[in-house]
């Protein structure tokens, strides 16, 4: 196996993402849609907005991650590039991780970059900003992993998207709870350490198990 395959795949995925410019900007668009629509809906009171800010940013991150899932493996499945992963000389879990990395770079990273701006717009207390970023940094990769699993499981079906959301929702409950819990704790002046520790534990668990499950699911689906 040559390790050169992994950067080659990453470079190609990102190149394709850039080429689909508009689609790749959807996550950011969603973040801002949530940021603007929710205050319009609940009113601009700083206290109320500050208390729901962590949840809103996280829900936006979740939606952004969900949006791109349908295209995570499906185009490759249809044009025959996916089955080339099994020609024998490459570790499929490595390729899966690379694909998830590119998904995270497209959906997770933009949300993290614009999260400080979102925090300002929602009056999140300053002392919670660092924790918000940290929780996103640990948590969004889990969203990519779990979402990737759902995408892989539904690959062989022809009505993937509804099913995809049903599968993702239960799996991300703990992520949402620990991440928003951390930010709320920090905003209220408590230590977010326990929450972040649990979130990190989840990330480690997901990193070890999910790529294996994804490879198995992909394999079953291409047969």
């Amino acid at each position: 196996m040559s390790l050169a395959a992994l950067p080659a795949l990453l470079a190609r995925d990102l190149r394709l993402a850039v080429r689909h410019g508009g689609e790749s900007l959807m996550p950011l668009f969603f973040l801002f849609a949530v940021l603007i629509l929710v205050p319009l809906g609940v009113g601009p009171g700083p206290n109320l907005l500050a208390s729901i800010a962590p949840g809103m940013v996280w829900v936006a991150a979740l939606l952004a991650s969900l949006l791109a899932l349908e295209n995570l493996f499906r185009p490759d499945f249809e044009d025959g590039t996916l089955e080339q992963w099994w020609l024998g000389h490459l570790p499929v879990t490595g390729l899966v991780l690379i694909r998830l990395l590119s998904h995270w770079l497209i959906t997770g990273l933009p949300v993290i970059i614009f999260a400080p701006l979102a925090a300002q717009m929602l009056y999140l207390p300053d002392q919670a900003l660092g924790v918000l970023l940290l929780s996103l940094l640990i948590g969004t990769p889990i969203l990519s992993l779990v979402g990737g699993l759902a995408a892989a499981l539904t690959l062989g079906t022809n009505r993937g998207s509804v099913l995809l959301s049903i599968l993702v929702f239960p799996l991300v409950v703990p992520v949402l709870i620990f991440a928003t819990g951390a930010v709320s704790a920090a905003a209220d002046g408590f230590s977010p350490r326990a929450h972040l520790g649990l979130l990190a534990a989840l990330l480690v668990l997901a990193l070890t198990l999910v790529p294996l499950a994804i490879s198995a699911a992909l394999r079953l689906n291409i047969e």
Binding site: A4, A8, R12, L16, E78, D79, Q84, E223
Partner: protein
């Protein structure tokens, strides 16, 4: 003579049913094997099995050397241009063969390097797929209907590529139901048969 590929009693099941009768085959270096059979008898399934994409339900499969598989879907990214597609294959498989430009010239696609692959005609896509075999050389070629949608010149091209590949010690398994390849190398034929319905206890 070393064996590149060996299958003993290999089968595959779909929904629990055998797709084709058990297959035994051997592919020596510098030789070719033509898989014949009517539509729907499992030629594509057999090739995907040999490639390692599918796992055999029964039987053993041995592969000595890395494999290239060219199926119905051309495994090209329509949004990338021809040159980018080939460059990706070169890096992905990590074996330097011909340069992308040389491969394009060899397969008669000179001058089309910057065209997005989705704008190519079916025959041109096929040629680009063949170019992909040249930029990342692998000893075992598994070609599913390589002549499909190619014109006469394209058919000649496949024949000459096959001759070159076997001359340099490679092995080829290809399936066809139309044009009999004019192979200069030693080659065998294998007819795939539909499995007889079996009685399960």
């Amino acid at each position: 003579m070393s064996l590149l590929l060996e299958a003993n009693g290999v089968t595959f099941r779909r929904q629990g049913d055998l797709v084709f009768a058990p297959v035994d085959l051997q592919l020596a270096a510098a030789s070719a094997l033509v898989i014949l059979g009517p539509n729907g008898c499992g030629k594509t399934t057999l090739l995907r099995l040999l490639a390692g994409i599918l796992r055999p339900a029964e039987g053993q499969l041995l592969r000595n050397g890395s494999t290239a598989f060219l199926g119905h879907a051309s495994a090209l990214k329509g949004d990338l241009n021809c040159r980018e597609n080939l460059d990706f294959l070169r890096h992905f498989h990590g074996r330097a063969g011909l340069s992308s430009s040389q491969a394009l010239v060899r397969t008669g696609l000179a001058g089309l390097g910057l065209r997005p692959a989705r704008t190519l005609s079916a025959g041109q896509k096929r040629r680009l797929g063949l170019a992909g075999l040249l930029v990342a050389p692998r000893p075992i070629w598994l070609l599913d209907e390589p002549y499909a949608s190619l014109d006469d010149a394209g058919g000649e091209l496949v024949d000459s590529l096959l001759a070159e590949h076997t001359a340099t010690g490679g092995g080829v398994v290809l399936s066809t139901h139309q044009r009999k390849p004019r192979l200069r190398a030693a080659h065998g034929e294998l007819v795939v048969r539909k499995a007889a319905p079996e009685e399960t206890a």
